[in-house]
């Protein structure tokens, strides 16, 4: 449990699974909570900062929304995966709408273009990609929550909770441990940005 940076990179690579989690659980939680905090760029919350943070989280949501909407529209998945993609697509669209509404006229970012290749049609590519995108979202929100004003803390918590449900569900579908760590490491914006680029989905 050396530094937050290492944790978060591991997290976005989806490698947490391979760690011996159970025996180290207690230490891991303390380590993340105590060691992780000073690394976060925590600055005094303000309305202006809220907007910057929400703009950023909207970028994360755009990626997810586009991914699941594409999977749902192309309709190549079957069984529970299809159900998962369809329901999650609807929920990610609701998250985008919520953040756009919260930003209102202050919204400055655009919806980026994405190329998902076969990841939205081939189940063997879809599941790991879904896990990855949800992990990115959870760590991104957790990293930003402390920078928000109280009303926006609640906005973010109501969303990240559902992202965490998605990742738990996706991991269970993938046959991977849905909750491999007692605490979810927060990610910095740089770490999230790198992880998003690393998916190969950003045009």
């Amino acid at each position: 449990m050396s530094s937050l940076g290492e944790n978060s990179r591991d997290l976005t690579r989806g490698q947490l699974l391979v760690r011996g989690v159970v025996g180290t659980g207690a230490l891991a939680a303390g380590g993340i909570l105590v060691a992780g905090l000073p690394k976060l760029a925590v600055s005094r919350p303000s309305r202006e900062q809220d907007d910057r943070v929400l703009e950023w989280l909207l970028q994360v949501e755009y990626l997810q929304e586009a991914f699941y909407t594409d999977a749902d529209r192309r309709g190549a998945l079957d069984g529970e995966l299809r159900e998962f993609a369809s329901l999650v697509a609807e929920q990610e669209r609701a998250h985008v709408a919520e953040l756009e509404e919260a930003l209102g006229a202050n919204k400055s970012s655009k919806r980026p273009d994405f190329d998902f290749g076969d990841a939205t049609t081939n189940r063997d590519e879809f599941i790991p990609a879904a896990v990855e995108l949800e992990e990115i979202a959870v760590s991104a929100f957790n990293g930003k929550v402390p920078n928000l004003t109280k009303p926006r803390v609640l906005t973010a918590m109501k969303i990240v909770s559902v992202e965490a449900r998605h990742v738990g569900w996706a991991r269970d579908l993938a046959g991977r441990n849905p909750a491999p760590q007692p605490a979810d490491s927060p990610a910095t914006q740089d770490q999230t940005e790198a992880a998003m680029k690393n998916t190969g989905f950003m045009e």
């Binding site: 905090l37 957790n142 803390v153 559902v162 449900r165 007692p182």
Partner: protein, 227 residues
């Protein structure tokens, strides 16, 4: 919205039914005691902890309540793991989630320092051996814990505590989704998870009658209950 979480889970009334069978009184008042009297009590009894940032009285009360809830979850899931009577999937859930909740106990104790309260005693009254009742009770606890942490995230004074609660909160939501999946309930039923009040959680804990003694009050333990 505070009542939605459990109601959504308990569509068949199964939890309510289970709790009706299990409920006999309101001995489970540890949580109220922990919140009202815990800080003063432990401040008087504990030796001073190593230097760490001081928590405000409000943050101490919030963390002490959470600690009680984490003790309960850790004990319940660890017991299910030890007894090994639930289904293989639920057993695996208990093993992983029990370890996570023990991690949460340590994390919150670390945040509280000398204000950490000790664990009460529990009697799970057969719930840890009954796959159906255990699973549905676990769904209720995980959903409600995630909901409670949202309320607290807005309430806490310290952003250090907020950061910590956020990183535990998403793990509780993972647990909730996982146990729902095992139970055949939609893991993510709504686009937004709503917060819930402490009172709602106290009500759930009381209804289970799982808490048999408050910490440090061994003399008041109920004698000879037939659980």
């Amino acid at each position: 919205m505070s009542d939605l979480t459990l109601d959504a889970v308990d569509r068949s009334g199964a939890i309510a039914e289970a709790f009706d069978e299990l409920t006999g009184g309101t001995r489970a008042d540890f949580f109220r005691k922990a919140v009202i009297g815990g800080a003063a009590l432990t401040a008087a009894l504990e030796t001073p902890a190593a230097a760490q940032p001081r928590n405000t009285a409000k943050d101490v009360a919030i963390l002490q309540f959470d600690l009680g809830l984490e003790y309960l979850q850790a004990a319940m899931y660890s017991e299910a793991e030890r007894l090994g009577e639930v289904s293989p999937k639920t057993l695996e859930w208990s093993r992983v989630v029990g370890a996570n909740e023990r991690g949460h106990v340590e994390a919150i104790r670390g945040l509280l320092g000398r204000d950490a309260v000790k664990s009460p005693s529990f009697n799970f009254r057969g719930v840890t051996e009954d796959d159906r009742v255990f699973t549905e009770t676990a769904v209720a606890f995980e959903d409600l814990t995630a909901a409670l942490l949202k309320t607290q995230a807005v309430q806490v004074d310290s952003r250090r505590v907020l950061t910590a609660l956020a990183s535990l909160h998403s793990v509780e939501a993972r647990h909730a989704a996982w146990i729902r999946h095992i139970a055949g309930i939609v893991p993510a039923a709504d686009a937004f998870d709503q917060p819930t009040s402490k009172a709602r959680v106290v009500k759930l804990v009381d209804s289970t009658n799982f808490v048999t003694s408050a910490p440090r009050t061994r003399g008041r333990r109920q004698p000879g209950y037939t659980g």
